[in-house]
């Protein structure tokens, strides 16, 4: 058990800190959340700065254009950028954390050469076409069909909850290439395609969330023609391709957000001190309790990263445990924020109120709390399969 960093890692941290201190003051003001083109330009500009400074694709393998950093270095990178208040990965989330690593691991040399450099430079934005209206948490129940005509797939169907669809150039799209029957279970008939978002037949309709803003969109696909050369991995093998990359990011996917939770908690305490709410022992103890929760999330992250480091990136059981705890703590944090705010908790423009609204998605997105508990019960604890 060792939580200390090596000299190399500390050196990396200090160079990163110095760089952040130098470049962050030069950034333009952040765009309005409703200004999608502005958000894209801002996020891609930040990605370009990271790229030029040698921080793009830090955890990607070197042969894919990345820096081949260790999981610990990646952890330090995410920790320091969040602490310094640097921009979040934003519009480049899917490209850098999901589609890119998928193409790096499973794509051909030509596919890697075509798609990876623009992701790392911030030139092309990706979105994720996994979820469908009828499928929900049962991802493999997707219905969007791809029918092969020579060297082209003809794709029809629809996707939902697609973040950044309005400004994306590409979509990592899961499609059904074999019908579900006795010979082909639903997981086996799926393929992974790179869909150009400007292809004829692609329609994007923004979805307004309960927060009042359009954070994501529905994507309708009407006989969209996608070259077979855009398929990553074998036909009908898309489920495995997806699972491989979904699992790799679990150790570090929420590092920035854990640091952010702690920062919010500290400002809650400062605000409570100022407005007198701190004198309420019930609220004070509640904030103290949240400090323990944040500490635990941080330690769980370090545990998961250590495990990933030892197993060469193959994740263990930690992902679902972390996700269950994190989604709950985040909601409790913003509920406590509302208590600190008092009547101001009804001001929809307050940063903590938007945080409270968005926290509601965390127990649903990327596998609901209930699905995660099923995973823990059946795959980790080995309980008999339920129904």
């Amino acid at each position: 058990m060792d939580l200390s960093c090596t000299e190399d890692e500390e050196d990396f941290r200090h160079r990163l800190r110095a760089w952040l201190a130098a470049v962050l003051p030069t950034l333009p003001p952040r765009p309005d959340p409703a200004d999608w083109p502005g958000r894209r330009a801002y996020d891609c500009g930040w990605q370009r700065m990271l790229h030029d400074a040698g921080y793009a694709g830090l955890h990607w393998p070197e042969e894919a254009g990345g820096q081949g950093a260790t999981p610990t270095q990646h952890l330090i990178f995410l920790e320091e950028t969040e602490r310094a208040g640097a921009p979040y990965v934003g519009a480049n989330f899917v490209g850098l954390l999901h589609a890119g690593p998928t193409i790096a691991a499973e794509g051909t040399a030509a596919q890697r050469a075509r798609w990876l450099p623009p992701i790392l430079r911030g030139d092309e934005v990706w979105c994720q076409g996994f979820s469908e209206p009828e499928a929900g948490s049962d991802l493999a129940a997707l219905r969007t069909r791809a029918v092969r005509e020579g060297d082209t797939y003809v794709v029809s169907g629809s996707k939902i909850w697609t973040s950044h669809a309005e400004v994306a150039d590409w979509c990592e799209l899961l499609v059904r290439t074999a019908p579900v029957n006795q010979d082909t279970p639903k997981h086996r008939g799926i393929s992974w395609l790179a869909l150009p978002m400007d292809a004829p037949g692609v329609t994007v309709r923004p979805l307004r969330t309960l927060a009042g803003t359009a954070e994501f969109a529905e994507v309708f696909l009407d006989e969209v023609r996608v070259p077979v050369s855009h398929r990553v991995g074998a036909e009908n093998d898309g489920w495995r391709v997806t699972m491989v990359t979904l699992s790799f990011e679990r150790g570090t996917a929420f590092v920035g957000e854990v640091v952010a939770c702690r920062r919010v908690l500290e400002s809650l305490a400062r605000t409570a001190k100022t407005n007198g709410r701190w004198d309420d022992p019930v609220l004070r103890r509640r904030l103290g309790r949240l400090a323990a929760d944040c500490a635990a999330l941080w330690r769980l992250t370090q545990w998961n990263v250590s495990e990933a480091q030892r197993t060469g990136g193959v994740p263990g059981v930690g992902g679902s445990v972390f996700k269950l705890r994190f989604s709950q703590v985040r909601q409790e944090l913003y509920d406590a924020a509302a208590e600190v705010l008092g009547p101001d908790a009804l001001d929809a423009e307050h940063e903590w109120v938007t945080g409270r609204l968005s926290s509601l998605s965390y127990t649903i997105a990327a596998g609901t709390t209930q699905i995660q508990r099923n995973i823990v019960a059946e795959r980790i604890l080995g309980l008999p399969k339920g129904r």
């Binding site: 058990m1 500290e266 103290g288 500490a295 635990a296 330690r299 769980l300 545990w303 019960a377 980790i380």
Partner: protein, 361 residues
């Protein structure tokens, strides 16, 4: 950074588990418990400690784990001690393990019992004298082995295994010291303990004979952490008990483990145990007071709530004396009152939130 156990640490944990299974199996636990159960109503404070087991623990270095090899210790650190105590907690090993272990560490100071404690020849229980005066406020109400009395009286603390002990480790505000148990016992009143394997006495706050200057804060912190480690062991064990039961018990023609309601209880138990593990291990490395507070808070919660959920999974059977679940719950209650209560831990963590310069994550 490599937070996971080293090979040696893994071996230590396995060795401890094997020792517990051999030397304190379920039958031994039940013998202690059932002896007390049969005596209910007779006003006894509970069973005596098994001295030969205590000496055996001493022989394998349980109490001398952190003493330097030069003085006959094992020369390991707090992380290793935490692993050993986790296993003791898992087995529900009774006795003032924490205070005897801490007393062994005071040998360099010439305290006469320390050497015997290190070898397992002396049983040293503990008394937090600050528990007698402070019941609220930032530092909190922490009885040694105990909180204040059930009436809310602030002038007495509970001490475990006093009748079996040779000495009492007394922690004051700043100083620590040792007193012969026979001096304390006459003025102590036996309490019928909720935990049949942890006899309790009510003792009036005692601050005399404090000789070790300035060590109380460290000892209190280590005591809280090692107690949390035992809670962790118990929390992890009740997950196993619940899963085992859910995989055997048939209702409505199927194993109850196939029911989602039962699965979700078990999954939540694992999340609590693993969350507690992460902070307990981290606190063993950093020894930071904030980390220790987080460890006690989350480990107490994991032990108590996991035991309750485990009892629920067992259904009516869980409400019987024969099932072991109640023993985990009762011991978890006892430990949760020891050294640092939830209120004290939360206040400590809250205070650190507004303390500039305190490490945050």
């Amino acid at each position: 950074m490599d937070f996971m156990l080293t090979e040696d640490q893994g071996a230590l944990r396995t060795g401890m588990r094997t020792l517990m299974e051999r030397r304190f199996p379920r039958a031994a636990l039940r013998a202690v418990v059932d002896a007390v159960g049969d005596a209910v109503g007779e006003g006894t404070a509970g069973g005596a400690l098994d001295r030969s087991l205590w000496r055996e623990l001493g022989a394998v270095g349980f109490f001398a784990l952190r003493l330097p090899q030069a003085v006959g210790g094992v020369g390991l650190g707090l992380p290793e001690a935490v692993l050993a105590f986790e296993e003791a907690g898992r087995a529900l090993l009774p006795g003032p393990l924490v205070t005897t272990h801490l007393a062994a560490g005071l040998s360099a100071t010439g305290l006469s019992v320390a050497g015997a404690a290190a070898e397992g020849k002396a049983v040293v229980t503990g008394l937090d004298a600050t528990g007698a005066t402070a019941t609220t406020g930032a530092t909190g109400a922490t009885g040694a082995t105990g909180a204040t009395g059930a009436t809310g009286a602030t002038d007495a603390v509970l001490v475990e295994h006093l009748a079996s002990a040779d000495a009492v480790l007394v922690l004051g505000e700043e100083d620590a010291g040792m007193r012969p148990a026979e001096e304390v016992l006459p003025s102590a009143a036996a309490v019928r303990s909720v935990d049949p394997a942890t006899p309790l006495h009510r003792v009036r706050g005692e601050t005399r004979a404090l000789r070790q200057r300035g060590t109380a804060a460290r000892l209190r912190r280590e005591a809280a952490l090692l107690t949390a480690a035992q809670q962790l062991g118990s929390a992890a064990r009740t997950v196993e008990l619940a899963v085992a039961h859910a995989g055997e018990r048939v209702q409505f023609g199927r194993m109850i483990g196939t029911f989602q309601a039962v699965q979700h209880l078990c999954a939540s138990m694992l999340v609590r145990a693993e969350t507690a593990r992460s902070v307990v291990y981290a606190a063993a490395i950093t020894e930071d007071p904030g980390d220790v507070a987080a460890a006690t808070l989350l480990a107490d919660e994991a032990a108590v709530r996991n035991a309750r959920d485990c009892l629920q999974v067992h259904g009516g059977m869980g409400f019987t004396w024969e099932a072991d679940v109640h023993l985990h719950l009762k011991r978890a209650w006892v430990r949760a009152e020891q050294w640092q209560t939830a209120a004290a831990a939360e206040e400590e963590l809250a205070a650190r939130l507004v303390l500039t310069g305190a490490p945050c994550l």
